[in-house]
């Protein structure tokens, strides 16, 4: 019974389980949030006291912090499955592989969305950037960006979960693929903050949507093979 309804039910159950475990003990999101905050602060030091330059660089700093923290968050979410062979047990349930991917990606998306919104707030405060006026496009960008990082991250976490040098391989494989997302998100964010002077915001959001759709489809279609051992 691998209908859409059962897939959704399974995916939601997995996401709920991850969220529960996350709140209960793992604190993946909280620790990665502080990591992102530290990264932002270091950017502040690195790019010097000139607040104008910091404000100009804010979109880039935001998304770099989100992407780097995202690598950690996704990795920790998959560590959850290495508890005593949990990933193997997950693969043994009679459920569609794409549902498992969807569940893990959903959990990743929730963590990344929370992370993205909080980092957006931090950037607004730290780099004196007016995020209130353009809240809708910024929200859309963060949602699309968070989904993209989660979709790609979940896929490559699946690739590397049983691998030896996993901590190195996950970012090495994941970050180059995220380049278009980073490009689009930063451009959309800066366009949104500047009030979309060139009217290019729509184009960048479309790029993000296209990226997310492609990566979710690719991940769902191939996740089954990754679970093979």
């Amino acid at each position: 019974m691998s209908t859409l309804a059962s897939d959704t039910r399974v995916a939601l159950a997995i996401a709920r389980k991850d969220a529960l475990a996350e709140l209960r003990g793992r604190h993946a999101t909280v620790s990665t949030l502080f990591f992102a905050a530290v990264v932002l602060l270091l950017f502040g030091f690195a790019l010097g006291p000139d607040s104008a330059r910091l404000a100009a660089a804010a979109p880039g700093l935001l998304w770099l912090a989100v992407v780097f923290a995202g690598v950690l968050a996704v990795n920790r979410l998959h560590l959850l499955e290495t508890d005593d062979g949990a990933l193997e047990q997950l693969a043994l349930y009679p459920v569609a592989r794409r549902a498992i991917y969807a569940g893990k990606a959903l959990a990743g998306f929730a963590a990344m969305l929370l992370l993205g919104l909080l980092v957006l707030g931090a950037v607004g405060v730290l780099f004196a950037v007016d995020i209130a006026s353009a809240w809708l496009p910024l929200l859309a960008t963060v949602v699309l960006g968070a989904l993209g990082v989660a979709a790609v991250g979940t896929f490559y976490a699946g690739v590397t979960v049983r691998l030896r040098a996993r901590e190195v391989m996950l970012p090495l494989l994941m970050l180059p693929v995220l380049a278009p997302l980073l490009l689009g998100a930063v451009k959309a964010t800066s366009a949104a903050l500047a009030g979309d002077p060139f009217g290019e915001l729509g184009a960048w959001l479309q790029l993000l949507v296209a990226f997310d759709v492609i990566m979710v489809v690719a991940g769902a279609a191939t996740y089954g093979f990754l679970l093979e051992d």
């Binding site: 209960r24 003990g25 009679p94």
Partner: protein, 269 residues
């Protein structure tokens, strides 16, 4: 509604309990396809042959012991049948379904108790089973979860996170998870390990209950004597091969020597 089989469990300290084992749609006994058929099944790990060529047939219904020294291939055989790992060579069918092509169907019909329990430490016993019920699509999940917790004697620890559980309690919870399923083939890897007296008799009762409803049980164990009263047959493995079989519903065939391999270049020595 079929009456659940009431079992007169052997005299143990456990209270007389009726273990709820979900009914199987049992056709006439012999019409069912064999529970397990393997043909030259082999699996290598980094070059050495954990399974070298197992050709086995196990008829449906009955408790079969899988015996053999450490490294004989017992666990590997169970993992391949459970679709946890793929075979390197050869083929296998469960209830007539190919474990590779029809893996989805096989996963619905097989329950597998592994050394690793696959439980989430941060979730409570009840939450772990609730999640398993959602994955297995267990009907009226809430009651079945409570019932399973009761049957494996963990009702009083239902709200405690599994992190603090002993190995024995984790194994009981893993058995509880199997009770939520509807498997026609149950694969148990060292079920008696780490269990206390009550736990041991729990496994005994489960074997009897499954046998009653016609479920096929393959038990890899060193406790051959304890299994004795429940067995319908035995399979002895040695160095990845079948050394001998015994029992009415169990037959084995010698592995074919030339290893035909479709993949790569059909290299066959």
């Amino acid at each position: 509604m079929m009456l659940w089989p009431t079992i007169s469990a052997p005299q143990t300290s456990m209270p007389q309990t009726t273990i709820y084992v979900s009914p199987r749609s049992l056709g006439a006994h012999d019409s069912r396809p064999p529970a397990v058929v393997t043909t030259d099944l082999a699996r290598l790990f980094a070059g050495n042959a954990a399974l070298a060529g197992v050709s086995l047939r196990v008829d449906a219904g009955g408790v079969i012991a899988l015996l053999g020294a450490n490294g004989a291939g017992k666990t590997t055989l169970l993992r391949v049948l459970a679709t946890a790992i793929r075979p390197s060579y050869g083929r296998a069918q469960v209830d007539g379904f190919d474990i590779d092509r029809d893996a989805d169907i096989v996963r619905g019909r097989v329950a597998y108790l592994s050394h690793a329990t696959g439980l989430y430490d941060d979730l409570t016993a009840r939450e772990n089973l609730r999640f398993a019920a959602a994955m297995l699509g267990t009907p009226d999940a809430a009651q079945r979860v409570e019932r399973a917790l009761f049957d494996v004697g963990l009702s009083d620890r239902a709200a405690d996170p599994v992190r603090g559980f002993s190995a024995g309690m984790r194994k009981r919870l893993a058995l509880g998870r199997i009770l939520l399923g509807n498997a026609s083939l149950v694969l148990l890897d060292e079920p008696y390990a780490a269990l206390d007296a009550d736990g041991l008799s729990l496994v005994d009762q489960l074997l009897v209950a499954w046998r009653e409803v016609g479920v096929t049980v393959l038990v890899a164990s060193h406790a051959a004597d304890r299994l004795e009263p429940f067995l319908d047959g035995r399979v002895l493995l040695a160095r990845g091969l079948v050394a001998g079989v015994e029992g009415q519903g169990v037959t084995s065939f010698p592995p074919s020597l030339p290893v035909a391999r479709g993949s790569l270049t059909g290299v066959s020595p």
